[in-house]
Amino acid sequence: MQFEIIARCSTTRARVSRMTLAHGPTMLPTFMPVATQAAIKGLTPEQVESLGITLILNNTYHLNLRPGIDVLKAAGGAHEFQGWNHNLLTDSGGFQLVSLSKFTTITEEGALFQSPFTGEPTMLTPEESISIQHAIGADIIMQLDDVVSSLETGPRVAEASERSVRWLDRCINYHKSSGKDDRQNLFAIVQGGLDFKLRDRCLDAMVDRKDDVAGYAIGGLSGGEEKDIFWRLISQCTAKLPEDRPRYSMGIGFAEDLLVCVALGVDMADCVFPTRTARFGVALTRKGAVNLSKKCTLLNRHPTDIATRRQS
């Protein structure tokens, strides 16, 4: 990965940078649309490309179930499979384990969960997660982290935060020994819940491993916590994370949050919000969200967003 900062904001921590990966350059800050099942909802890869998007996200958990790693290998990786020529990021699959499966138990070895189809107990270890992401072949891969709800309190948060560091080490080891680290870039995920001290400890530990990771994600947020705590935590993380690594705030999608994050020095974000809200009939415009399924928009003949029309 090549990462170079092109410009900096004079008042905030915002920065413009160019991240060059195996499938070309991506200008940052950027928003990554989510192609959970190897397709941005309703669009063809060519349409996504024409929107000026150069980095999308696939969900490891879903791709592992369907089409399955054997199919992805036969196709020559997820890029080939979905006809996407630009950059791709995969998550570790940990978040979906917790959000979709009721019976997940986290052990030091990995996440033990019930397969949603066969019902058999299945173990996802950090090594296994990286191995799956290697088969998918994304340009950016994420460490497996121990995810707890951002509203969780107590010793479980500390445990998760510390375990995420230990799992990061296992991910780094596996990734380096696989020989795939020339084309795929491993990102660490900073945990620590809503506790500033925990965050700080996690940050320190992860920054120590800077030479072995290509970038940092800020995890464990955007789960219903107060905005006042949210921005403080983001600020705390970006202040401590190394300048010369891209920073990725996970699960951020509302315009206000994106602006705050960028001003605090975040480079990347992802969320299903734009694709999901579109499916519910809402158009995002420069004047706010417009619910096109409502009767009052019936008589409105303006294009949904005049400002975005091409000047020619």
Partner: protein, 557 residues
Amino acid sequence: MFLSFENLSSASSSSSTSLFGPRLGSLVCKNGVKITTPNLITPTSRGVVPHLSRDNVLRTQSISWIHVPYESFLECKPPIPTLGLSLHDLLGFRHDRHVISMSLRDLSDGREMPSNAAKYVSAWCIRGARKVTPEEYRRYTSLAKPDIVYALADVQPVASQKRLIKSVERTAEWLVQLLKPCDAEDNAQASAPSIILQMPGGQSNQARSAFAHTLIEPLHPTDVHTLKPLRLSCLDDAISGYAVDGSIEQIKASLDGLNEKKLRIAHSTTFSTLTIPPATGLSPSTGVDMIRGPHDMLDLIRDVGIDLFGAEWVIKLAQWGIALDFEFPPPQAPINSKIDSGSGTSPKIRGSKRDIGHNLYDVRYRMDCTRLLNSNSSVTCPCFTCAPSSCSSEDVIRHSRVDDPPLYDLKSPPRSRTPHTRAYIHHLLHTHEMSSYALLVGHNLAIISTFLQGVRNSLELSGGQFNAEVDKFFEYYASGEHESIYPSEVAKVEAVVEAVVAEATEGEVLLPQGSGVRDTLTGKGTGILLFDEARVCHAEVERLRGKGSLKRDREVG
């Protein structure tokens, strides 16, 4: 008049068959759009080509005549197309590329409807049935400004002779009302849309002939007066084409004696909505009563000289996960099952004939990383699925100055890209991704268009060859009549459906009792095994992963 249709040739020269023989035509519309026939009419639902966004409509070269059933707009009052924008502008179709026709009812909708009356037609919208009077329809057409209007017709299936006579009379009367010039619109007469007439008469050849006769007899004195500015000698003069349905014999009865230099259009009844109203006690007519595939189209081209086909069934197949893969003329090489192993296979062989496409739900396509068309196909499919291309770098939306070229193009992607694969679309179908339908609709429309191009090429060559090629096509590709379904075939299809369900549930087969596979295959289906197989697979995957599946799981567990 908007359209001018020129009958370029009749393949057969003998006078007795030339009226209904296969024919090649050229349709020139006022906006410069030229359509050579036989060709296809792209259907829409609520004014949208199903599953295709505007840019994908423009990417699809085979879309030039677009048909808009108006009834789906009736849910809003006033209907949106009356608010000031023409259909072209409202729906984002291009004046220089697309011809738009409009009918009140969806001609492919076979559902049972409240009966029409002397003063109105029953139409269907999402909120239920609506009554539309000829006056209202006339207003709708004048505000929507389509290029072509299908006149109101009373074409509901009816049982009694008396009702049949009424329907014929009404259709003629409504046509006169549509034609009647209004003072206010006199100056707009020049841009008046062309008119297509849906031929009434139902199951009765007599009624059909009688209606045809009404069209060409001299105008009734009262009509002469009202239609004076149009200078018509008979109603037929005001019509650019006929939309026909029914069996070959019924279509002949409808068209006999009429001007052969006019368009003949056939729309297809959508399979899922095809019902025979129990009240009327009618049995389905034999022969071609709906267009189910290329076989029926070839029949209609050869025996009654149909020029344009509604492509409703093509869209339906895409929704069931079928990717069409056939060509005209058919491949020369005899059917050889040896080449059917591995990737890039041709469609399945059933009995001794080949399917016209692939049921992509089938587990056999899970790892098949080849394009949709089989590797021996001589067709070059131009669709955005088989021949996707990156848009040029100027067309990519740039979000900021730093995205500008040349920076952006440091590593310029290749213009043309590898085709989307069977395995990918198989995956999208199994995961309910909407993109699958877009990719399949684009492909299927292109294949039908290429097929009709093959037909036109064949018709252009000296006579006789076309009929021979049609015979060969029937020899090669399975048309799938009901009679040809053997129990062994049904069992094979059941095995496929079971495997698809097994894949969708990762091993566990959850086919419910009486899931209707057998029903669909032997009676209530389309009669074409490929279609029915895909339809059942689609329904099962939909049921397993679709809305409410979690709730059902809870109830079962």
